[in-house]
């Protein structure tokens, strides 16, 4: 009995920690959704692009870890700058659908650029953190939990707290929330939309880089990261597209639920249900709570 409980705990904690990685990717989507009301389909490509560049800097040019990270982050700021100048500004008056299509195009451009610059082979990324159970926890709590999962959880927590503070207490954060509510009114009182867009795309780029590093360390830096990032879609449907806490909780729920279902119900379906189970959960949410757990309800005064 106690063994079964421990096993369940292990599945749960492993799932929750893996879920923080989904949260990280979803966070990138939320940032851009808040500012431009667009689902950024190029977020997956940004993950791939940024972490491949990071690997390239480290492995092809022998740049040390910290410097390579800073360079990759700066590169994502440049990507944000170019996106604002070349894609978003010309489409300023276009419909949201047009911008959505543009992000799909942007995704292909980034995927192509990344592979043209750094090659197509799978790269191994060693962060110096093993993907194996931490001995101390295994000995004392009898739980087998990967060090990489714990690191990912911590990193995600730090980034989330940082972003929360940025939005709540800084001037540019206030500007971002204003733009998210009513871009026209924000512009009428002199909040420059282009600065906000630049901020949001750069922040989303850096979040993509961090998420890519975590995923890459586990599964290798490869093209499949682009599709893996789409796992953020059910996370967002559950959490709500415009909510940062929603992205976090949604990620945790998806991570935990898919692991638990895989272990306990998977065998009845012949296994490998974690690939589609989150989408089934998302459909239930769309039917019964379409704004998600934390999504901003459309406030209507009566």
């Amino acid at each position: 009995m106690i063994d079964e409980l421990l096993f369940f705990m292990e599945v749960l904690v492993g799932g929750l920690l893996a879920g923080t990685m989904y949260s990280l990717v979803a966070l990138g989507f939320v940032l851009i959704f808040k500012a431009s009301a667009t689902f950024n389909f190029s977020q997956g490509a940004m993950v791939f692009f940024s972490v491949l560049a990071f690997c390239g800097f480290m492995q092809d040019f022998n740049i040390p870890f910290v410097l390579a990270f800073i360079l990759a982050a700066l590169l994502m700021v440049v990507v944000g700058l170019c996106t604002e100048r070349l894609v978003l500004r010309p489409l300023m008056n276009a419909s949201e659908d047009t911008v959505l299509m543009a992000t799909i195009g942007l995704g292909y451009v980034l995927e192509g650029l990344a592979q043209a610059a750094w090659g197509v082979e799978v790269r191994r990324l060693d962060l110096g953190i093993g993907d194996f159970p931490v001995p101390w926890i295994a000995d004392n709590l009898k739980l087998f939990i990967s060090a990489l999962d714990i690191t990912a959880g911590l990193v995600a927590a730090i980034m989330i707290i940082g972003l929360f503070l940025l939005f709540k207490y800084t001037k540019i954060g206030l500007g971002l929330r204003a733009v998210a509510d009513d871009a026209g009114a924000a512009s009428s009182i002199g909040i420059p939309l282009k600065h906000i867009m630049l901020l949001v795309w750069s922040a989303a780029g850096v979040v993509a880089l961090v998420a890519g590093m975590m995923w890459g360390a586990r599964a290798g830096v490869q093209f499949a990261l682009v599709d893996l990032a789409l796992k953020a879609l059910p996370v967002l449907i559950i959490g709500g597209f415009s909510s940062i806490p929603g992205a976090i909780v949604g990620g945790l729920i998806i991570g935990a639920v898919e692991k638990i279902l895989e272990v306990y119900i998977g065998p009845f379906f012949g296994g490998a249900i974690e690939g589609w189970a989150p989408y089934v959960l998302a459909i239930f949410f769309l039917l019964y709570r379409p704004e998600g757990l934390f999504g901003e309800k459309i406030i209507r005064r009566v």
Binding site: L174, R177, A180, D181, D182, A186, I189
Partner: protein, 271 residues
């Protein structure tokens, strides 16, 4: 470069088109003297909002363009400016329909108006106190989410937010739309007070002709994108045509200006 002439805003014969085809303004000229309140009156679709947006340069984001004529603000052409530069120069528009940031608190809404200024935390608090002096109601509700405040309070938020940018000139687009008479009076009292105590020049677009003229120095009446009549507020209030067409003091049904002019020309011909 600052301007010595008496007018803070000088619009000369502007024509505005949307999407390169839809002609919204044919020929509008108007002036706002420094420190005065000028009313821009007319029915729905007459071109009031378009005129204001041409001045604040917000037309561009609605695919509109000034195709003829010129607009000078404080002695300089506004042709090459964008909305945030205009705010920097002291020209702020309060958009039609209040447009508060619904998920932000009342106070955050007001503070967001100071975005274009470089203020310390202490300066912002000081400015806030000053603004709350005009909008006592908002001080009580400072922590509420703006979306849950009443229509009148939202209008006050919008004006207070604009005042945080320290404007020399305010463009108010139908501030009394959909408000109860008591609130209309309250809003106009505040606007008057801001004009007198802060020296803000005001261009006010309104459908509510009577109360707008009673609170203005000068008025323009536009119809289908053209200025049909102008004059001091007093002269407009006493003008028979205005009385008949806009103040509802008439024995016959409602008409518009064009019909009256047509009638007049017919009368003179037959005489």
């Amino acid at each position: 470069m600052s301007n010595n002439s008496a007018d803070i805003l000088d619009i000369k014969n502007i024509e505005v088109t949307y999407d390169d085809v839809i002609l919204a303004l044919h020929d509008v000229s108007l002036k706002v003297p420094k420190g005065k309140v000028v009313a821009l009156l007319g029915a729905n679709g007459a071109g009031k909002s378009t005129t204001l947006k041409a001045v604040s340069t917000m037309l561009a984001s609605e695919r509109g363009k000034v195709t003829k004529g010129s607009i000078d603000y404080d002695g300089n052409s506004i042709q090459k400016q964008n909305p945030s530069q205009m705010v920097g120069l002291g020209m702020v528009q309060v958009l039609e329909g209040r447009r508060c940031f619904g998920h932000l608190t009342v106070e955050e809404n007001i503070i967001s108006g100071a975005y274009s200024r470089k203020l310390s935390k202490g300066d912002i608090d000081q400015e806030l106190e000053k603004i709350y002096g005009y909008f006592l109601r908002l001080k009580e509700r400072r922590k509420s989410q703006a979306a849950f405040t009443s229509g009148g309070e939202q209008q006050m938020i919008a004006v207070a937010r604009a005042m945080m940018a320290k404007p020399k000139m305010l463009l108010l687009d139908e501030p009394t739309m959909g408000l109860a008479p008591q609130l209309v009076a309250e809003i106009f009292n505040i606007v008057k007070e801001l004009n007198q105590k802060e020296g803000v020049s005001i261009l006010l677009a309104e459908q509510n002709t009577n109360i707008a003229l009673k609170n203005s120095d000068y008025g323009y009446i536009i119809e289908t994108g053209k200025v049909m009549l102008e004059g001091t507020a007093e002269s407009l209030l006493n003008n028979d045509k205005v009385k008949e067409l806009y103040l509802g003091i008439s024995k016959k049904g409602r008409k518009n200006f064009r019909d009256v002019l047509k009638e007049e020309s017919l009368n003179t011909k037959s005489n």
